[in-house]
C-alpha cells in the first residue's frame, strides 16, 4: 500500500519520454517531488533550480509522512519540453529524492492553493467585497468594523481573479501558500 497515494510509473524511472526539443513552446508543469525530510533538502532542490537556471513559479513543501520522514515538494515550473525533462531527470537523480511525478504530463490532476486577503473599506465597497467573497466561496476568518480577512481556496487562476476584484475594494495585503496538487483517480 502506498500511503502517499501516488501513482507509480512516473517519468522518474524513465528517460524515454521524448518530445520535440526544437519546439520553443514554453510549458508550465506541476511536479510533485517526494523527498526524505532531512536537513537541507529544500535548499538542495531550490539550489538545483537556481544553479541550473530553471524557473520556479510556485513552491510548496511539508512533511506528509511523519513516520517515514517524507516531505512532498510541489513545484510549479516552466520551460521548453526539453528543459522540463531535464528538470525531472536532475531532480530524480538527487540522493534524497524518492520519486518525481509530472502531474501535468501524467494525466488530470487537481491543484489547489490557499490564500488570505486583507481588505479594508467602508460602506458600499465593504459590502461589495463581502458579496464577491460569497460568490468565490471565500470565508471570513477575521473581521473588524473596517476590514475583513478572507480565506480562499482554489486554483491559482481563481485566486488571481479574486485578487483582481479585491484590489479596487481596498486590498491591503495577501498571503498565498503556493500550489498543492494530486493526480485524479487512483
Amino acid at each position: 500500500m502506498n500511503a502517499l497515494n501516488i501513482k507509480k510509473g512516473s517519468s522518474s524511472h524513465s528517460a524515454y519520454d521524448l518530445r520535440d526539443p526544437n519546439a520553443v513552446v514554453i510549458e508550465q508543469h506541476t511536479l510533485a517531488v517526494l523527498v526524505d525530510n532531512e536537513s537541507g533538502v529544500l535548499a538542495r532542490v531550490i539550489g538545483l533550480f537556481s544553479g541550473r537556471g530553471y524557473n520556479i513559479d510556485s513552491l510548496t513543501v511539508a512533511e506528509v509522512d511523519h513516520a517515514g520522514h517524507r516531505s512532498r515538494i510541489t513545484v510549479v515550473t516552466r520551460g521548453t519540453p526539453q528543459v522540463i525533462e531535464q528538470i525531472k531527470a536532475q531532480l530524480a537523480r538527487m540522493v534524497p529524492v524518492h520519486d518525481v511525478h509530472d502531474l501535468t504530463a501524467e494525466g488530470p490532476a487537481v491543484q489547489r492553493e490557499l490564500a488570505l486577503f486583507k481588505v479594508a473599506g467602508k460602506g458600499e465597497a465593504r459590502i461589495e467585497a463581502l458579496r464577491l467573497a460569497e460568490i468565490f466561496r471565500a470565508n471570513v476568518v477575521d473581521s473588524t468594523l473596517e476590514s475583513f480577512v478572507f480565506e480562499i481556496t482554489g486554483t491559482p487562476e481563481k485566486i488571481d481573479a479574486f485578487g483582481d476584484l479585491m484590489r479596487p475594494l481596498g486590498l491591503l495585503e495577501m498571503a498565498r501558500t503556493g500550489v498543492a496538487a494530486l493526480a485524479r483517480g487512483v
Partner: protein, 588 residues
C-alpha cells in the same frame, strides 16, 4: 577486532573504524582544530596511511589521482572553515569528472554552529552544489551509518564526490558503532541494467549502419576494466571506428587499428569528421560536452544516435538521441555484445569498407603535423620524445590544464584504462602535480609523469613538499613557454593579438626550486639534449622537476573554434585568419 562491530566508541574512533571497514588504505589530509580527535585516532593505528598535504586543494586532487588510477574511492580529511573551503575546487573538479571521493571535514561543535565560531563555515551549504551529496552529522549514533552511506553514494551510479561534515563534539561523544553490514540499505540504488528493447534497437542499427562510429567517454573508465575489455571485443567484432573524449582515453588502445584518436575542440581531424559524417553514433559513457559538440545545431547532422549512460539526466541534455540506454556502460556493452553474438550479427560490409576508405583519406591529412625545429624544442616534439622513451613502461600520466594537456592527449598513446588522469570538465589548473602524487602513492613502483605547463604547475607547487616527504618519485615534465599558452592562443585568434596578462613574469628558476625542495631539477632547451635529459629524469630515483623550455608561440591544432561545427576545423596557422565571429567569441 571482530567484536568491533558491536562496540561502543567515540565518534573519532568510528571514523577510523568505518574507513577500515571500507578497505581504505590511504587518507590525504591536513589537520586542524576541528579534526584533532580524528587525528588522535589516526596516530594510534597503523592500518590507514595518512598523507600530509601542503594545501587542502592538493589533498582532493591527490585523492582524485588515487581514485582515477585505482578505481577505488579517494578519501580526504580536512578541518573546518578554511580546510573545507580549500577543498571546494577539488570537489567541483571531481563532480564534473565523476570521480568517487569521500571527504570528511571537521566542524565546530554542534552547540556553536551558527555563532560564527572560529573556523566555522557553512560547509554543507558551501559544498552542496559541488558534491553528489553531503551530510552534517549531529549525533554520534548516526556517524558510522552516514559514512557507510557516503561510500555507497560516492561509488554507485555515476560516481562523484561526497562530503561528511563532523562537528567536534560528535567526534568526542561515544555511541554504538553501526557495522557496515547492519547499516540500513539506502534507497539510493541507481539502475545499472539497460533496457533490453533499446539494446535490441541498437544492435539492429549496428547491423544496418554504413558509417558507424563509437564515441566513448569517461564512463567506460568509471565502469571498470571489464567495460574496456568488452568495448575492445565489440570494436574487434564489428570493425567499427572508435574515438574518445579526453576523459575516455585508454579504454580502447591507442595502438588499436580502429582507433581514430581523441575527438573534440582539439581532437583529430579524422575523429571529428567521422563524428560529423557518420550515420550511426554510439555514445558510450560520454556526455556531449560543448568541447565535443561544437555548434549543437550542426552537430553530426545525418546520424542516428544511441547513448549509453548511467545518469538519466545526461541523456537528451544537450543532444537528442534516438536510442537512449540508461545503465552501467559495462553491463550494457556486455548485453550488446551478447546479443550481437547470439544473433550472429553481420555488419554492412560494403558500407563499412567505403566508410573506412573515407576515414583513411582523412587520416592521410596527418592533422598532427607541425613544423619542427632544430633550434628550439617544440612542445609536440617534447611529447613525442617522451612517448617514445617511456613506451612500454609501467607509466601513468597526469596533466595540468591548457595547451600542454591537449598536446599530451594528442601525442601520448594510452593502451590501458586508468593510466591517464586529467581535469576534463572543470579544467582545473593546478590539478596535475597533486594528482600525480596521488597516483604514485597508489602505484609506488610505477613511472608517474605530470605533463605540465609552467603556469598551471605553479598553482599547486607547494605539493612538492608532500612528494618529498612521502618519497613519491613523481616526474614533473614542465613544458615551459613562459606563457599562459591557451589563453595566449585565444587572444591571438579572437582578441586581435592583444595579449592581456597571458605571460608568466618573474618565473622561478625551476632547477633551483627543485634543489630548494630537495629533489632533482633538470633544464633542457636544446632539442639535441632532450632524449638524454628525459632519460635522466626517468632514471632518477626521486621526484624531478623538468624545466623543458619550449617554443613560446606555438598554437595547438587542430582546433574547432567556439561556435563552429566539426567540419569547420582549423588545421594550422594558415587557417586562422578571421575565423571566429562575434558570436563565437562570447563562448568559452
Amino acid at each position: 577486532m571482530t567484536k568491533a562491530a558491536s562496540m561502543t566508541m567515540t565518534g573519532a574512533r568510528m571514523v577510523v573504524q568505518a574507513l577500515k571497514d571500507h578497505g581504505v588504505e590511504v587518507v590525504f589530509g591536513y589537520p586542524g582544530g576541528a579534526v584533532l580527535p580524528i587525528y588522535d585516532e589516526i596516530f594510534q593505528q597503523n592500518d590507514i596511511r595518512h598523507i600530509l598535504v601542503r594545501h587542502e586543494q592538493g589533498a582532493v586532487h591527490m585523492a582524485e589521482g588515487y581514485a582515477r588510477s585505482t578505481g577505488k574511492p579517494g578519501v580526504v580529511l580536512v578541518t573546518s572553515g578554511p580546510g573545507a573551503t580549500n577543498a571546494v575546487t577539488g570537489l567541483t573538479d571531481a563532480l564534473l569528472d565523476s570521480i568517487p571521493l569521500v571527504v570528511l571535514s571537521g566542524q565546530v561543535p554542534t552547540f556553536m554552529i551558527g555563532t560564527d565560531g572560529f573556523q566555522e563555515a557553512d560547509t554543507v551549504g558551501i559544498t552542496r552544489p559541488c558534491t553528489k551529496h553531503n551530510w552534517l552529522v549531529k549525533d554520534t549514533a548516526d556517524l558510522a551509518a552516514t559514512i557507510h552511506t557516503a561510500f555507497q553514494v560516492a561509488t554507485s551510479g555515476r560516481p562523484g564526490p561526497v562530503l561528511v561534515d563532523i562537528p567536534k563534539d560528535v567526534q568526542f561523544a561515544t555511541a554504538q558503532y553501526t557495522p557496515k553490514e547492519s547499516s540500513r540499505a539506502p534507497h539510493y540504488q541507481p539502475r545499472t541494467n539497460g533496457d533490453p528493447e533499446q539494446v535490441l534497437r541498437l544492435v539492429e542499427m549496428m547491423e544496418a549502419a554504413e558509417r558507424p562510429v563509437f564515441y566513448t567517454g569517461g564512463g567506460v573508465i568509471n565502469s571498470g576494466p571489464e567495460a574496456s575489455r568488452t568495448l575492445r571485443e565489440l570494436v574487434a567484432g564489428t570493425d567499427f571506428p572508435i574515438t574518445s573524449t579526453l576523459m575516455g582515453l585508454g579504454s580502447y588502445p591507442a595502438s588499436g587499428k580502429n582507433w581514430l584518436g581523441m575527438l573534440g575542440m582539439h581532437g583529430l581531424y579524422e575523429a571529428n569528421l567521422a563524428m560529423h559524417g557518420c550515420d550511426l553514433m554510439i555514445n558510450v559513457g560520454a556526455r556531449f560536452d560543448d568541447r565535443i559538440t561544437g555548434r549543437v545545431k550542426d552537430f553530426s547532422p545525418h546520424s542516428r544516435k544511441a547513448h549509453i549512460d548511467i545518469d538519466p539526466s545526461s541523456i537528451n541534455k544537450v543532444i537528442r538521441v534516438d536510442v537512449p540506454i540508461v545503465g552501467d556502460v559495462g553491463s550494457v556493452l556486455a548485453d550488446v555484445l551478447a546479443l550481437w553474438k547470439a544473433r550472429g550479427s553481420k555488419t554492412n560490409k560494403a558500407g563499412l569498407a567505403k566508410w573506412w576508405a573515407q576515414i583513411n583519406e582523412w587520416r592521410a591529412v596527418e592533422c598532427l603535423n607541425y613544423q619542427n625545429s632544430a633550434k628550439t624544442i617544440k612542445p609536440q616534439y617534447a611529447l613525442q620524445r617522451l612517448e617514445a622513451l617511456t613506451k612500454g613502461m609501467d607509466r601513468y600520466i597526469t596533466t595540468e590544464v591548457g595547451q600542454h594537456q591537449m598536446w599530451a592527449a594528442q601525442f601520448l598513446g594510452f593502451e590501458e584504462p586508468n593510466r591517464w588522469m586529467t581535469s576534463g570538465g572543470l579544467g582545473t589548473m593546478g590539478y596535475g602535480l597533486p594528482a600525480s602524487i596521488g597516483v604514485q602513492i597508489a602505484h609506488p613502483q610505477a613511472l608517474v609523469i605530470n605533463v605540465a605547463g609552467e603556469a598551471s604547475w605553479l598553482m599547486n607547487m607547494q605539493e612538492m613538499g608532500t612528494a618529498m616527504q612521502f618519497r613519491a618519485p613523481v616526474k614533473q615534465f614542465i613544458l615551459n613557454n613562459e606563457r599562459l599558452g591557451m589563453v595566449r592562443q585565444w587572444q591571438e585568434l579572437l582578441h586581435g593579438e592583444r595579449y592581456s596578462h597571458s605571460w608568466s613574469e618573474s618565473l622561478p628558476d625551476f632547477v633551483k626550486l627543485a634543489e630548494a625542495f630537495g629533489c632533482k631539477g633538470i633544464k633542457c632547451s636544446d632539442p639535441k639534449d632532450l632524449d638524454d635529459a628525459i632519460m635522466e629524469m626517468i632514471r632518477y630515483d626521486g621526484p624531478v622537476i623538468f624545466d623543458c623550455l619550449v617554443e613560446k608561440h606555438e598554437n595547438c591544432f587542430p582546433m574547432i573554434p567556439s561556435g563552429k561545427p566539426h567540419n569547420e576545423m582549423l588545421l594550422g596557422e594558415a587557417d586562422t585568419q578571421g575565423v571566429i565571429g562575434a558570436k563565437g567569441a562570447v563562448l568559452v
